[in-house]
């Protein structure tokens, strides 16, 4: 591609040196396409280009093109339709997009257009949920009913043959209960452009991530005669997992604790560890410690499986450690995911957690062959993440935070709530559903939400 002098000048103005500017311009970038990129990105980009990494370049190009599309002038149709996005009409974005697409296929007069818009608005308002509709209970039932059709079978492996993932009803319960850690935490790690097409690099990265314990590298022997622990390392395992004898020795020295002596015989690959006191108790405790030591990789990741999916290498892990994994070199930090929702909330934020809840719930249901409208799941996810943290639906979360005593008593642990409330002299304002049903009054939902007021005669 011919290098545009304008591009080169513009890039030089931004602080890039002549050669790099030339490289970028020759690769087909223009100043506008690179506008959004910081200086660091551009310097890296030049390096990538010279290395000949086409992939990354193509990707950045794609995203650059998305960010700076050709500025088409807005037609009167565009302008009129975009008004509908704002109040009072407030149409959803997709609706306006679809309208734009359909209407521009035909010739319409202004009057005609207004008629179409009126009709669309009316149909939209009719399709909307009515105010005061009890959407919570509807969502609960819409998810609960297919729930009764879910089997409790958890032995079915989802996707990867070697990994065991909780499925079906137990998983759905885990999600709704906002469990800190799922019973089968699993991560799906995507790799960056450098690693995703290279099998060896992917394998190497796999060992960087998978936790290598002492037992993986050889035999551990407790020798009561000499009051020592002996580790016989296996050369093959050391090489496969890309860890050296020295590294093992150092790690064990560091983690075995104070007063412990580690002697190494590099030729025979034997490590002799002496506890600080020559007692059986110390020896056994030391043995326990040595068993637990993680020599390489991320603690918690017990297994990594590399698969080729859609032409790229992906890693599935047994165990989840999102923060550590995302900061490792070689992984794609934008696509890597986990099924541990609390980790996602912690590392990526509450909105990401909301999306994760929806994705997990949806996939759990559809894996069982059940089709629940996403709106019900959105309802749950929204309620769970409303206050900035992931709360369970049950008594330690949303249900438990009910202001009404009767409501909480009707939900779970009845007597405790009534007792505490009586002691404290609490008042129940009877605003919610449960308490009004108990007392026998109309509830504050649906028709009961509306109050009629008489205006008097002759008005």
């Amino acid at each position: 591609m011919a290098a545009s002098k304008r591009t080169i000048d513009a890039l030089k103005k931004r602080g890039i040196n002549d050669d790099d500017a030339k490289t970028l311009a020759e690769a087909g970038f223009t100043a506008s396409k690179l506008r959004g990129k910081s200086l660091d990105n551009l310097v890296e980009l030049t390096k990538d280009i010279s290395k000949g990494v086409q992939q990354e370049v193509a990707e950045i190009k794609e995203s650059a093109e998305e960010e700076a599309p050709e500025e088409k002038p807005k037609t009167p149709l565009d302008l009129r339709l975009e008004e509908l996005l704002n109040p009072p009409t407030s149409l959803p974005y997709r609706m306006v997009k679809d309208m734009k697409a359909e209407i521009s296929k035909h010739k319409v007069t202004k009057k005609h257009l207004e008629k179409i818009i009126d009709e669309v608005i009316e149909q939209y308002n009719r399709a909307k949920v009515e105010p005061c509709e009890a959407v919570g209970i509807i969502a609960a039932q819409s998810i609960g009913e297919p729930g009764t059709q879910m089997t409790m079978r958890t032995f079915h492996y989802a996707g990867v043959a070697e990994l065991n993932v909780t499925l079906g009803l137990p998983r759905l319960i885990e999600i709704v209960d906002a469990r800190k850690v799922p019973t089968t935490p699993v991560m799906k790690i995507y790799l960056d452009a450098d690693h995703r097409h290279d099998r060896d690099k992917a394998r190497e990265l796999g060992w960087v991530i998978e936790a290598t314990k002492t037992s993986h590298l050889g035999d551990i022997l407790t020798i009561p005669d000499g009051m020592v622990i002996q580790i016989r390392l296996n050369d093959v395992m050391l090489r496969r997992r890309k860890i050296t004898f020295e590294e093992v020795k150092e790690k064990i020295e560091k983690k075995a604790g104070t007063g412990v002596n580690v002697e190494g015989d590099e030729k025979d690959l034997i490590l002799t560890i002496t506890p600080k006191e020559p007692t059986y108790r110390e020896l056994l405790q030391l043995r326990k410690k040595v068993n637990k030591i993680t020599l390489k990789g991320i603690d918690g990741i017990s297994r990594v499986v590399i698969r080729n999916e859609d032409g790229e290498y992906v890693m599935y892990t047994e165990g989840s450690a999102l923060k550590e994994v995302l900061s490792k070199e070689g992984i794609d930090a934008a696509r890597t995911k986990t099924n541990n929702i609390m980790e996602i909330a912690d590392v990526l934020g509450i909105e990401a957690a909301r999306n994760a809840i929806m994705e997990e719930a949806l996939s759990t249901l559809s894996e069982q062959g059940l089709d629940v409208d996403i709106r019900h799941i959105m309802m749950i996810a929204d309620v769970m993440t409303r206050d900035g943290e992931v709360k369970q639906i049950g008594r330690h979360g949303v249900a438990g935070e009910q202001v009404s005593v009767l409501s909480r008593a009707a939900f779970e642990v009845t007597v405790n709530h009534l007792l505490d409330a009586a002691i404290a002299g609490e008042i129940d304002e009877l605003c919610g559903v449960s308490e009004n049903v108990i007392v026998g009054q109309p509830i504050n939902m649906g028709t009961g939400r509306i109050k009629l007021v008489a205006t008097g005669y002759g008005v």
């Binding site: 109040p87 959803p92 974005y93 997709r94 609706m95 997009k97 923060k323 995302l326 900061s327 490792k328 070199e329 930090a333 934008a334 696509r335 995911k337 996602i344 912690d346 590392v347 990526l348 934020g349 509450i350 909105e351 990401a352 999306n355 994760a356 994705e359 996403i374 709106r375 959105m378 929204d382 993440t385 409303r386 206050d387 900035g388 943290e389």
Partner: protein, 80 residues
């Protein structure tokens, strides 16, 4: 220990977060007829909130991708 700082907003699961200026925020609250206390909340320590530098009291505009409407704008008030 940190090899690289994670750009949280780049992740697939994280929607766009923007701090709103006071005028815009007031307009939104008037339109929806809500008070600050009624808005959904987001913690100041939230990864996305931290990255855009939101402080307690700021109202964040969250532009989500939606399966039902392609795009949906929601709001959260920064707390604590």
């Amino acid at each position: 220990m940190k090899k690289k700082d994670i750009d949280v907003l780049k992740h697939e699961l994280v929607p766009e977060h923007v701090v709103m200026d006071d005028k815009e925020a007031e307009r939104i609250m008037r339109e929806y007829m809500v008070s600050k206390a009624q808005l959904p909340k987001i913690k100041e320590s939230d990864s996305a909130a931290k990255q855009i530098g939101a402080k307690s009291g700021d109202i964040i505009k969250v532009i989500r991708k939606s399966q039902t409407a392609d795009r949906f704008v929601s709001y959260r008030i920064t707390i604590k």
